[in-house]
Symmetry: C2
Amino acid sequence: MTGYPSFGFVTPENMSLLVDLYELTMADSYLRHGMNQRATFELFIRGLPERRNFLVCAGVESALAYLQAFRFPEDTIAYLRSLQLFSDGFLDYLRGFRFTGEVWAIPEGEIVFSQEPLLEIVAPRIEAQVVETFLLNTLNFQVMIASKAARVVLAAAGRQVVDFSPRRDHGVDAALKVARASFIGGCVGSSCVLAGKEFGIPVYGTMAHSYVMSFPDELSAYRAFVQDFPQNSVLLIDTYDTIQGARHAVTVAREMAARAQRLRGVRIDSGDLVDLSRKVRAIFREADLADIRIFLSGELNEYKVADLLARGAEADAFGVGTELGTSADAPHMGGVYKLVEDAMGYRVKLSAGKATLPGHKQVWRVVRDGRFDHDVVALASEPTPPGARPLLAKVMQDGRVPGEGEALRAMQERCRQQMAMLPEPLRAIDEQAAYPVRLSPRLEALREQMYRNGGAWAPL
Amino acid sequence: MTGYPSFGFVTPENMSLLVDLYELTMADSYLRHGMNQRATFELFIRGLPERRNFLVCAGVESALAYLQAFRFPEDTIAYLRSLQLFSDGFLDYLRGFRFTGEVWAIPEGEIVFSQEPLLEIVAPRIEAQVVETFLLNTLNFQVMIASKAARVVLAAAGRQVVDFSPRRDHGVDAALKVARASFIGGCVGSSCVLAGKEFGIPVYGTMAHSYVMSFPDELSAYRAFVQDFPQNSVLLIDTYDTIQGARHAVTVAREMAARAQRLRGVRIDSGDLVDLSRKVRAIFREADLADIRIFLSGELNEYKVADLLARGAEADAFGVGTELGTSADAPHMGGVYKLVEDAMGYRVKLSAGKATLPGHKQVWRVVRDGRFDHDVVALASEPTPPGARPLLAKVMQDGRVPGEGEALRAMQERCRQQMAMLPEPLRAIDEQAAYPVRLSPRLEALREQMYRNGGAWAPL
């Protein structure tokens, strides 16, 4: 236990213990029984949550960073020893632990569907086993958020979306990773400053009601703020009376114009956003200040954004917080991590409702007339289906990530391009539509054979 | 930006940037305008989510650790400078930044309700302002999880509940903090090993289906595991056929008995848990092995736990994962952080639906016949209401936490004792009931006066 008061942060030094206990007991047992041969595990989302027609892959980089740096420092070994559970042999093994495996992954920003492996891990069984908890935690969360963001961005129909969620996200790592994953999903940036420092994400901010209230009156608050931040002022206009706030913004914008400055925008955070935004825009147009941007916020989500726009709201950008950062209408993702191949051969799990597909795989995407037509999940050893593009690429060899990695903007751009190729029905925010993910004939036949035999394995 | 691949972990070194950008721009402005006088902010939950009749306070220790260690190391200043937004004076100010304020908090494990301040922060305005994002992130999340856990524990009616959520939690900090907050709420432990190391929480684990499948047959898997962990084996019996699995468990338990060992338990993770658990218990009773514990898991929550028990399931413990760790039926908490007093006097926010209560406060609890009767929110300067107990206590002075802090077990015990005093209607898992939280006559009168005047401030 650390001293009082304690943060309890997860760091590269203690992250190897961010693991379910049973991963370590099983690993100890595998070691004692000489069961550390190479095996293939895959991570996939079992079924799409309700209200999700597609998912956006995200979190791979965090997963790779973890796999590459994964160690058991002395104090973690000491803690494990204190549990009086593990064999000395296993604790010695952990002391020298490195992840030495191979990883195949679908690039971040790629559109994915259920049953498609996002990661394939080929490694000695123990190495592949003990990383399960962390990999699931990381991928489940970032995929969920990138997918939610993509929906909000779809709803915003070309207007900007900014992540405003840190205060409601599930802890500090969530606050940082929501910014990252939602940027991949199409947000232009985040209010989270650390996301700017760590990931180079553009950071955005306006002002709070408490700022306005800290001055004798609204106009004094606005004047102070634009004096301090002449390039970057977005004035919050709903503290007292939104219409009056808009008029104060006009006053300030004119004063700025006289100094050759430009007021960037205003934010409306409460009230009837349709009615108010239209009245505010009219005030700006009348004042010949139509270039003042209107930023809407306040408990928004993709449904409300779509509704606001359908009802004629005037908006250049949306700040979306709580519901984006918690994926409130689908707050968990059913990713699982399963053994699909080992020294004995192909492996499946047969349990009702939890069945898996055997073998190391590839996912193929077929595009027709500029739109996704269908995907094929196949054994990795199968030839390329005609006209298909492989989604899984090797990203780690012998426990090392070769090369430089990809910029976050490239992932965002991939997502943007792929979203444009989504079949129209899948783009509907509130209607369910299914995308065809097929099994290759060979994979289908193998699965049938294994299920018919009721056997958890079949020879390669 | 850090190197590739990057974790992007939040650490004590970069945590000061886990802040919404506007907190820093407003702070810069306050500094430039000489507005850094002492002010009081409070953190409270605006309204209970649907399906929550009470909340459990949690997260205070993390908040205090943050406030005490809060600094802006050089690389954070360099990043902020690169934004070309802040004044040199402000960046210099941040270089020497310390939180020097006073904090009042409701102890962790205490039952709380909406409108009751969980934290009161008295500090120079800038110090109080820039910590908003982190404090809200931390308290919102841990209160939400402790409250959810308390409901699951209520539903389990004396049976043990273990946190099994790490793989579905929202990132790595969430995985660690869910273990902490759910322990306060009454869980006996967590599968998260790091929670054991960092917080001294008991760690629990059984085995995965993949372990069973890794052996030629179920019995071999069980024999290997109990050989390796004779003191601590909980066998997963639903990989192939749960009834057959229970019989294999009996075989192994008898072999263990012959070695003077005892099989600790079995876990059932799928199927009709009522029917299966009853049949499994019958098998154990028939075999004179009724002390083998039965552990149920598989997409559980408080509703399902209550339903299982109502329908006669045999269970000694429940493993609850996804829905506990994401508070799935109420995945965000509406905590806010508001200015209530400053050098000008009492402060309120008047916006419709977002109004606040003025002044530095105390929360009083009145108990009658061993049950909570009502709470009173009053100005801190008011005398003790008759028979009332104050909930807010000073936990930080001049930016330092005095003393040793409290053990997590003491917080858990507080929660247990207070839960026993909850009025019966509030203990219902699926029926809404409201608890009376009253304003003191003086606070009520002050609020009325300020609202009537339409003024955001009133003299002290």
